[in-house]
């Protein structure tokens, strides 16, 4: 038997997140899987039909600790030491990245982040993870237990299986002193559809040469009912806010169509958009990496290509 502690997360409605459903699929694929899901706070309605054996609740994450995660790390460390799972599984979210790493180093366990494959045999867990910004893949073996992993968003299909897990609560009995603490959360205003949810993403990169062209990209995104993305280079240059950044260190998107304008297609960028249904590239450098990743492309100057593309799209959708 392989016992898996799956650390669940919530979506904006407080229900079990899509990324957690993906983790259920990954966990179910392990040999002899027996899955316990753990969730901070009261179990949401959707937890009662999760395809796992058991749902354990721990203390909710306090608002001053959200992002620091001192108490939840302590609670999970206590839960892991009392249940001795073979694998502890997180999504590679903000939460999973921080808590997974903290937990691993706190209990001196092996940690592999951003895994796209996981399997096990004879007590050894094998994972595959992209490295060098996605230019290469690395396969690792973890012989020590527990193996703590985070999973890349979109690497597994969300589980559609239904279960009827028993729910129990776990009290770690430790109350952690809050050292670093969050006093306020500032939400940045967003117009239109959320980048991560958009069916169409129009992204601009270094090749745009400045901030002004993003208004054309915004026009195109509006006509398509989509959102505007950007490469890290464009964000770091200050042409557009970092909340638009797509890539390894930005957002992961998987729209129907990802239109990359003036983006060279470095593997770090592709890591955030490679699960799009179709990538469309407009770039004047025909040797750009983006043309190796795209399904459709035009080699040309975006200043000449984009206006006619936009006009035609507008006519087609009128």
């Amino acid at each position: 038997m392989t016992s898996i502690l799956l650390v669940a997360e919530r979506d904006e409605q407080g229900e079990i997140s899509q990324s957690t459903l993906q983790a259920v699929t990954a966990a179910s694929g392990l040999d002899g899987a027996s899955i316990t899901a753990v969730v901070a706070g009261d179990a949401p309605v959707s937890a009662s039909s999760l395809a796992v054996e058991k749902v354990v609740t721990i203390s909710p994450i306090g608002s001053s600790d959200a992002g620091i995660y001192e108490q939840v790390t302590a609670d999970l460390a206590a839960l892991v030491s009392s249940t001795n799972p073979d694998v502890v599984m997180f999504s590679k979210s903000d939460f999973g990245s921080v808590v997974g790493a903290r937990l691993a180093f706190r209990i001196d366990a092996a940690f592999a982040s951003d895994c796209i494959e996981i399997e096990n045999s004879d007590g050894v867990v094998s994972v595959t993870r992209p490295v060098y910004g996605g230019s290469a893949l690395a396969e690792f073996e973890i012989a020590s237990s527990p193996a703590i992993v985070t999973l890349r968003a979109g690497a597994f299909e969300p589980s559609t299986d239904a279960g009827s897990p028993a729910t129990e609560s776990f009290e770690s009995g430790t109350s952690v002193e809050q050292r670093a603490s969050v006093s306020e959360t500032v939400a940045e205003s967003r117009e239109g559809v959320r980048l991560e949810d958009a069916d169409f993403v129009v992204s601009g990169g270094r090749g745009l040469g400045g901030p002004e062209p993003f208004s054309v990209l915004t026009d195109l995104a509006n006509v398509l009912g989509g959102a505007v993305g950007a490469s890290r280079a464009a964000c770091d240059a200050g042409w557009i806010d970092h909340s638009h950044q797509v890539g390894l260190t930005g957002k992961s998107v998987s729209p129907d169509v990802y239109i990359a304008v003036g983006i060279s297609g470095a593997s770090q960028h592709m890591a955030g958009c490679s699960s799009s249904r179709a990538i469309v590239a407009i770039n004047k450098d025909g040797d750009s990496n983006i043309f190796k990743e795209a399904r459709f492309g035009v080699i040309g100057d975006w200043e000449k290509v984009l206006p006619s593309f936009l006009a035609t799209v507008r006519d087609l959708r009128a």
Partner: protein
């Protein structure tokens, strides 16, 4: 856990006196990595040794995210704080032209743990070495690291260090200000940021949202060229490679094959290509 009180004593300062004359000692963790701007056509792996073949004529660089952390430390100085910035790296075969870049940007000291085999250890072992070096070279008031390294992309060395040293941690910091004996921080979240207060000493990871690292000026480059790195061996830190066995065993490193076939749209001119692209996408029912 046994180490945390001990390390706290080694790292911490007596802030109760509130002595404003005190220099704030900052250590920035930095890693030498293959240049991530290496063209994909030149990125090659030797599958017999599971290592990246150094591309011809493309020297290694300091991990770009670590330069964000250097920039963060320098911004504290710009804001008027009396700071001493030490850059700390663990590895072997250091290329000084690359490693001196933080000094040229304005950092004060470069400390290298330079020993054979240190380029092959995993991140858990790296954390051990860093903790030992910080203990030896400390105390420090702030420990800054980049959000991840552009080679292995794990992003957990700095996080792990906070655990091993028993220090508070704030990740993904895009803005930092010294505020008496604490630091005021902005922490990036997916659709905005959080305002966070952390005590000193703390461990912070700095993200690229902080802004582009400054370019070294000529004076900085001259000063850096005269500075010599201070070098520790593993033995200096009371460690040996036997203490640094990997938790993760690398079995295979390879470049995945891309089997995508692109369809290039060519019109009479570029404007016509744009029009034909839209029509082709409609034909495929994509728009």
């Amino acid at each position: 856990m046994v180490t945390s009180d001990f390390f706290y004593a080694a790292i911490g300062r007596d802030y109760i006196t509130g002595n404003s004359e005190l220099t704030v000692r900052i250590v920035v963790l930095a890693k030498q990595v293959p240049d991530p701007e290496t063209p994909p056509s030149q990125f090659k792996i030797d599958e017999s040794t599971n290592t990246v073949v150094p591309p011809n004529g493309v020297p290694p660089v300091v991990n770009g995210f670590d330069l964000n952390a250097v920039e963060g430390a320098l911004q504290l100085r710009d804001a008027g704080a009396d700071v001493e910035i030490t850059v700390l790296s663990v590895g072997s075969d250091f290329v000084m032209d690359a490693m001196k870049k933080p000094l040229a940007m304005g950092a004060d000291r470069l400390v290298l743990v330079d020993d054979e085999g240190l380029d092959k250890i995993d991140s858990a072992a790296t954390v051990k070495v860093l903790a030992a070096a910080i203990e030896k070279d400390g105390p420090f008031d702030l420990i800054l690291g980049g959000r991840q390294a552009s080679d292995w992309d794990q992003g957990h060395v700095t996080l792990g260090l906070s655990e091993v040293m028993g220090l508070p941690l704030v990740s993904l910091v895009q803005k930092l200000e010294l505020d008496g004996d604490s630091v005021s921080l902005q922490r990036v979240i997916p659709d905005g940021y959080q305002i966070v207060s952390a005590p000193v000493p703390s461990v912070l990871t700095i993200t690229n949202e902080l802004g582009e690292p400054r370019y070294p000026n000529l004076r900085g480059i001259m000063q850096a060229s005269r500075k010599k790195p201070e070098i520790f061996s593993l033995e200096d830190l009371g460690l040996s490679l036997d203490d640094l066995a990997p938790k993760l065993e690398l079995k295979r490193l390879y470049v995945p094959e891309s089997n995508r076939q692109i369809e290039l749209i060519e019109g009479d001119d570029e404007a016509d290509s744009g029009k034909k692209l839209a029509l082709r996408l409609r034909e495929e029912k994509l728009i």
